[in-house]
Symmetry: C2
Subunit: 284 residues, 2 copies
Amino acid sequence: MTFLLAHLGPTGTYAESAAIAWATHLKHQTQEEVCLLPCASIAQTLRMAAEQQVDFAVVPVENSIEGSVTVTLDTLWQLDSLRVQQALVLPISHALLSCAPTLQYVQTVYSHPQALAQCQGWLEKNLPTVQLVPANSTTEALQFLSTDETVAAIASQRAAELYNLPVLVHPINDHPDNCTRFWVLSLKPLSVGSHTSLAFSLPANVPGALVKPLQLFAKRGINLSRIESRPTKRSLGEYVFFIDFESSIAMDSVRSVLEELQNCTETLKVFGSYNISFVDSTKT
Amino acid sequence: MTFLLAHLGPTGTYAESAAIAWATHLKHQTQEEVCLLPCASIAQTLRMAAEQQVDFAVVPVENSIEGSVTVTLDTLWQLDSLRVQQALVLPISHALLSCAPTLQYVQTVYSHPQALAQCQGWLEKNLPTVQLVPANSTTEALQFLSTDETVAAIASQRAAELYNLPVLVHPINDHPDNCTRFWVLSLKPLSVGSHTSLAFSLPANVPGALVKPLQLFAKRGINLSRIESRPTKRSLGEYVFFIDFESSIAMDSVRSVLEELQNCTETLKVFGSYNISFVDSTKT
């Protein structure tokens, strides 16, 4: 059999690098073939897995500089069927790609808004007068580069190799510890790992409603590693709360919290209990 | 004297509508003139107030559909000197602006990524094959409209009037309750209002560090209306926590929490205690 694996495309994105790392692991574990399928958006990537058109979806969930990838959280809350099987942490190192002989030629820089934000300091210092143009992915704008010496794009070194484009400067990200956490999701049942992620909504218009769920974690000493509010999209001030904690759902204390959470939340969804692995980006 | 008020420009943005509402209130209160200053970015708007080049900055902090405006939170955490004087809630109603005689002519739609996201369902249903192009603001792309019948942009009805452009369809946002919360900030000291917002970072690598601050609020029954993690930009898993609660800092219980928070956080910043008013967008 062949495993199908969906990721945000086109070829050359950081999401593809994470997908390659998971494909390599999967091949090694199962001795089966793995085929990668680039998708047009994160929402589409997730829907492909939810509708059983692929076996796995690999999507970014959080960047160390720019924070949550909110479309991932919102779509998972709606889909309700996918479970996190594994987290992958990928180091992000941005390069400035251009056919310009020197920086002085560059007048316009294209990239995904997150990549532009992650290089903001470098751009202000080295290219203070250029026009910054947002694109739908780090690789989308590369098509303009070969014909125009005044244009540059921010993407990975891997994208430069794939599309045969020159790297003018590397690295250009403001923070050297830039990395992105990806989730590998599938329709398989909950697994058991060292980290757990869940989300819940609260009964509307009940004052003090968030106190109770937080008390459940606090009184058992379970440390929340991340907590994030996302709007329910009904009215301002109504939220879904996304929570990560560094404990396995196999622990008795976590099981008790989950049981009691049922009583003080409106809807509770456990996304998964999973392990985290770190990707060596030089091998992808 | 004349008050100077900075906001995200150019003329015709929703931020300008919020700024006009505040200017009207200020004129009424003080009988002084108020002059609006459109800025190129949210970060620049805030810096203008922090550097005393203007008296007030009006910036978006949260949308009911798309969630937090993260650049506002991150910049306020860095600046450390501005205090929230007032919150303004503005209803958001998007229109499709174009010189095309009918929808069938439209091949490309420009807008700010948040506006494109807020009309995603309408676009998929009514313009399934168009190309969506991100722009830096809802008004930035309007310049292309007058010369090309295949181009449309998503902006406010007010922008259509200001730039003398036809409205093809209105409203087109997927959620009728779409609104954005703005903060009015200045260098003035903390005021006292019904809502309080603060942020804190935690000592690094201390397991269970977030439990303690949350326990302080929980044991006094203070309900957090919003809690949000933002990366410290040092390494993945280190966060600044932004918290809103529906209590005034004049309350004894809140004062006690603030004192005790000093002992279990690394850095604690109180952004303000303020009231919320709702803007009638038909008057701006």
